[in-house]
């Protein structure tokens, strides 16, 4: 899933999204950031030929309503979903108002009477079916995911969609084994779950929400993000084709107002939300005292901690993967690099070199490492925080690569000389921007890593096993990656401490949010 090692070069790729060539000659002797002159950077001798994934095989409608009670229903107040790499609209989607949400909840409630009582072994087979159908159509789904969201095809093809299928497959197998999940406890479904998901991993987040909910006998009303609703509609198609009882999965389109209508609906038993901490707090407040259950998977400001004894080249790859995976639109991104002082200069030099070789451009090109920023708004937020970083006195380092003329793109960027109080060290940027801080002792690393209201992820790079275990215990975060970063698996629980939310998704622990345990 990581942008893999590749020849040193700065891309200016000839893809459907054309980019201006930059002057590359300066790097043939001394690439920026490198302290040692390189005799030859062979990437400078030729360009990567464009390798665009074709889109001709995909099918989708020009206009979508909602998916309620097993049927696609027409809606109103349509908005356009934009391809962020071209700024061209892909399709139109309706906005569900409170009445439409109510219709979806009623369908889910009705379906719960069937689904909640169905034998687990039968529920399982439906979920297995969905997993298989996703695998069958994985190429189409990957292409659409990249078109609608801007992520590189290499990631949607190799990470997102395989994980989507695997997630359904994993939870399918739980459906008839729930009585073994929590020894001594009686478990039952919660009822109707309202699920609101973000735009960074559109279909994967839908799978993370729907699969465990259905395995445990709940029915759902899901709202995809308004900038990335396309693959959710394709999933609805698959769910219909898989023959799920009508109303087990309902998908309503829309923005914040639709989300609020779900949160406020009195007949919903459980809310599951993935998104920003600000919105998470609004939701927690909105359902206070209603008895609705809640899980929140919110923001992060993950620390990636590099000790001097780490395998530095591998760590640098881990840093790159940690922050530039999915354009940095990752709640668990390693957006704060904590590097031990004695290797700071070495790591920074390697990072400067490495970001030059990242290929930024057309998400559908198979060579692309960093695709398009998801939306104009998000690009604006990233720029504003980067400006704040510069004005607060940190030193900015940016790839010299050219950006395509059209679309929302941002150069891979990192800041050195960042102090803990800087906004870029405290606030989630949610873009390809890394803040570099230093530490001397493990205690200092822990103190700095934990010095944030968030607690979603952390990485530790060291060759010393005992230190790795010590750090893993001391870091207040739900996921710790040791000598790796940004790894995901359906069997592996994911979720945060502190203001990164509560509840886990994945594995046995991922069943808990959707079960009454007595």
């Amino acid at each position: 899933m990581a942008p893999g090692p590749r020849p040193l070069r700065c891309t200016s790729k000839d893809t459907p999204v054309t980019a201006k060539k930059t002057t590359k000659s300066k790097k043939t002797t001394k690439p920026p950031g490198s302290d040692t002159p390189h005799a030859l950077l062979y990437g400078d001798l030729w360009d990567y030929a464009p390798a665009p994934e074709s889109t001709g095989h995909t099918r989708f409608e020009k206009k979508y309503g909602h998916f309620i009670g097993g049927e696609f229903v027409a809606g109103k107040d349509h908005f356009k979903s934009i391809n962020p790499a071209t700024e061209e609209p892909i399709a139109e989607f309706a906005s569900a108002d409170a009445a439409m949400v109510d219709k979806a909840v009623k369908a889910a409630r009705k379906a719960h009477k069937v689904w909640g009582k169905m034998r687990g072994s039968e529920r399982a087979k439906y979920l297995f079916r969905i997993a298989r159908m996703i695998q069958e159509r994985s190429r189409e789904l990957a292409v659409l995911e990249s078109m609608d969201g801007g992520k590189p095809i290499r990631e949607s093809r190799d990470v997102d969609i395989p994980l989507v299928a695997a997630h359904f497959f994993h939870y399918a197998g739980w459906a008839d084994k729930l009585e073994y999940a929590f020894p001594g406890a009686r478990v039952s479904s919660v009822g109707v779950a309202g699920q609101i998901i973000p735009w960074n991993f559109p279909l994967l987040m839908a799978a993370w929400k729907i699969a465990p909910a259905l395995a445990t006998g709940n029915t759902v009303v899901l709202k995809p993000a308004e900038t990335t609703p396309l693959t959710a509609m394709k999933l609805a198609e698959i769910i219909a084709e898989a023959g799920l009882p009508p109303g087990v999965v309902n998908i309503v389109n829309g923005a914040g107002k639709t989300g609020a209508a779900i949160v406020d609906h009195p007949d919903i038993d459980k809310i599951a939300f993935t998104g920003s901490t600000d919105v998470g707090k609004i939701i927690q407040r909105a359902i206070a005292g209603t008895g609705k259950r809640l899980t929140l998977e919110l923001g992060g400001k993950g620390a990636n901690i590099i000790f001097a004894d780490a395998a530095i080249d591998q760590a640098v790859e881990g840093i790159i993967n940690g922050i530039f995976f999915n354009q940095g639109h990752v709640c668990c991104a390693g957006s704060r690099l904590l590097v031990q002082e004695s290797v700071h200069d070495e790591v920074v030099a390697k990072l400067k070199l490495r970001i030059e070789s990242l290929i930024v451009g057309d998400p559908l090109d198979k060579n692309t490492d960093i695709g398009a920023i998801n939306s104009k708004e998000q690009l604006g937020r990233i720029k504003a925080l980067v400006d704040a970083g510069a004005s607060e006195g940190a030193t900015m380092h940016q790839s010299s690569c050219a950006l395509p003329d059209r679309g929302y793109f941002f150069r891979p960027t990192f800041f050195t000389g960042v102090s803990q109080s800087h906004r870029i060290a405290q606030e989630e940027i949610f873009g390809p921007v890394l803040s570099v801080l230093t530490f001397r002792t493990p205690d200092e690393a822990v103190a700095k890593a934990n010095n944030t209201p968030y607690g979603l992820s952390a990485g530790v790079w060291t060759d010393k096993g005992s230190r790795l275990f010590e750090m893993a215990g001391a870091l207040r975060a739900g996921v710790i990656w040791g000598n790796t970063f940004n790894k995901f698996d359906p069997t592996s629980p994911f979720g945060g401490y502190k203001e990164s939310g509560f509840g886990r998704e994945g594995g046995r622990q991922g069943l808990l949010p959707y079960l009454e345990v007595r």
Partner: protein
């Protein structure tokens, strides 16, 4: 010389708060009167203030890391030690339940016996719940991956109104089993029993600050508990709708975890289902750790 009378007067106990292993008076200097069923004064008890809660919070935070860092075996022994200390004072607690809380003799004996047994039961969970709730995860990539429960941090327990001894133990024991420290807020008809229990805790090798006990008025303290930015979780027993709503709203500011359960009658607290390892679950965090597995030549899954 006139003849002296031989009768002696009882020494009354001053009941104070229990914070950081010490017994301070409330800083507010305020008191509430605790009376028995006949209306006689049992004691003037401390009416804890916001500042007392904040002091307890500091003590609890300070104690928590050390408590969680102790070996599970050691925590287990300390909870067991509490049971030992309670057993040796069982007659005291039985009498206190009768005198202060109006229990019948039989019920008092049953509550004390269950309280001791419950402590023993939770003591045994200290080095077992990790295995019950944690697991390794068979991920598809070449990584070793495991998930284990960790303490949430500092948890405030709004203790039950009923069962002045057993209700307390049934609610704070599962919280500290998981390595949390706690501030127990007691607002019932016989809060002196909570402070008697504090004397048991203080002599059970329990590090100061792991359990702090505040007597006072729950409605007065809850706004400050809900909004305290350093508190990790709230475990509220028997909240009405208004309290649940107010606490839940206040909790959002720092995304505190909240757990609300109904109160039980004193006899229901003795039921077997009033204890469960799943009472530990709301007050732990799951941490998942990954590490690559190397590809040693000739290595493989099976031999």
């Amino acid at each position: 010389m006139s003849k002296e009378t031989t009768s002696r007067i009882n020494v009354l106990k001053t009941y104070k708060l229990y914070i950081g292993g010490a017994f301070p008076r409330t800083e507010s200097g305020r008191y509430d009167r605790q009376t028995n069923a006949k209306g006689d004064l049992v004691a003037n008890i401390c009416r804890a203030s916001r500042k007392d809660f904040r002091n307890a919070m500091v003590a609890a935070r300070k104690a928590q890391r050390g408590w969680a860092a102790r070996s599970a075996f050691n925590r287990s022994q300390i909870l067991y030690r509490m049971a030992e200390m309670l057993e040796s004072r069982s007659a005291t607690f039985e009498r206190a339940l009768e005198d202060a809380a109006g229990y019948k003799k039989k019920d008092a004996a049953a509550e004390v016996a269950t309280a001791i047994d419950r402590l023993v039961w939770y003591a045994g969970w200290c080095d077992k719940f990790t295995q019950l709730f944690g697991n390794t995860n068979p991920v598809a990539s070449a990584h070793f991956n495991f998930t284990f429960p960790e303490a949430m941090g500092v948890v405030t327990v709004l203790a039950p109104k009923s069962a002045p001894l057993l209700g307390l133990i049934s609610t704070f024991a599962p919280v500290i089993v998981g390595g949390n420290s706690t501030i127990v807020v007691v607002d019932n008809d016989a809060p002196t029993i909570a402070i008697e229990l504090a004397e048991v805790l203080a002599t059970s090798d329990l590090p100061g600050g792991v359990v702090n006990i505040l007597t006072g008025r729950r409605d007065e303290l809850t706004p400050h508990i809900g909004s305290h930015m350093d508190l990790d979780a709230i475990f509220a027993v028997g909240s009405d709708k208004d309290e649940e709503r107010a606490l839940s709203i206040a909790a959002t500011e720092s995304i505190k975890r909240t757990k609300f359960i109904d109160d039980r009658s004193a006899s229901e607290w003795r039921d077997a289902d009033a204890q469960s390892p799943y009472m530990i679950l709301p007050f732990i965090e799951f941490k998942t750790a990954w590490h690559p597995i190397g590809g040693v030549a000739g290595g493989g899954g099976a031999y």
